[in-house]
């Protein structure tokens, strides 16, 4: 995934081609032992309205590198306690996946658990996809009905635009 200023991608064309990203965590050849499925709708997790579990988080290094504009401040509760966090406007892209670019999103910034993690995807992003986790097999899959056109990245560039 990569991110940029929320600017030039406001009007990207979208196709109706469905796409999916499957990520095997363990043995791909194993099959699920589940023969029937039961869906349990979860609409209310019991939290007061003030407490939300929706936001995608960016690490400070990522914000600094892209030079995002600050638009607000907020409060985050994470392991270790409550922290004040800056909020930035960003555009999220998902190279090599075919998923739609999120043209404009508000993302708080705080230190993440590992230096290699630069973004933690929250429900504000997941709510745009169907996320399926197969526990017995140890795989997950995300899919999206409408995706933006795939554009090959420039030669030599990686996910961080370097």
């Amino acid at each position: 995934m990569c991110f940029s200023r929320a600017d030039s991608s406001f009007a990207k064309p979208r196709s109706s081609r469905p796409t999916a990203l499957r990520t095997p965590i363990e043995n791909q050849n194993r099959t699920s032992s589940l023969r029937t499925s039961q869906q349990i709708p979860v609409h209310n997790d019991g939290c007061p309205d003030r407490y939300r579990r929706a936001r995608t988080i960016l690490a400070p290094e990522a914000v600094q590198k892209v030079g995002l504009s600050k638009i607000d401040e907020t409060t985050l509760i994470r392991v270790g306690g409550e922290v004040k966090a800056d909020v930035y406007a960003a555009s999220l892209q998902f190279p090599h996946s075919g998923f739609s670019t999120i043209e404009m999103i508000a993302v708080p910034c705080c230190e993440l658990v590992h230096p290699l993690f630069r973004c933690l995807i929250g429900r504000d992003v997941l709510s745009r996809w169907v996320f399926t986790y197969d526990g017995p097999v140890g795989t997950w899959q995300i899919s999206e009905a409408a995706v933006s056109s795939w554009v090959e990245p420039p030669e030599g560039s990686d996910l961080w635009g370097e």
């Binding site: 939300r52 638009i71 907020t74 994470r78």
Partner: protein, 78 residues
């Protein structure tokens, strides 16, 4: 939050805090855009608010985009 980051939007956040009670009466739930001590406008969603702010002030400038709510939301990061 680093001290230099805290200074960014300090004027706008103070302006918001000063006017919050007044705005809660008639504009609860709307998004307000503030730059320095000037209100650009009130908008029904984040996207409309940010678009207006970016059009007015550009993309390289900080400006406040804040939803007017009685209790400031708190977000979990797990």
């Amino acid at each position: 939050m680093a001290a230099d980051q805290q200074a960014r939007l300090a004027v706008e956040l103070e302006y918001y805090a000063h006017h919050k009670a007044e705005w809660l009466a008639h504009k609860t739930g709307l998004y307000v855009v503030v730059k320095d001590s000037r209100v650009l406008g009130f908008y029904p969603n984040f996207e409309a608010a940010y678009r207006s702010g970016a059009a007015a002030y550009g993309l390289n400038t900080d400006f406040l985009v804040k939803q007017i709510l009685e209790h400031e939301p708190v977000f979990f990061v797990f």
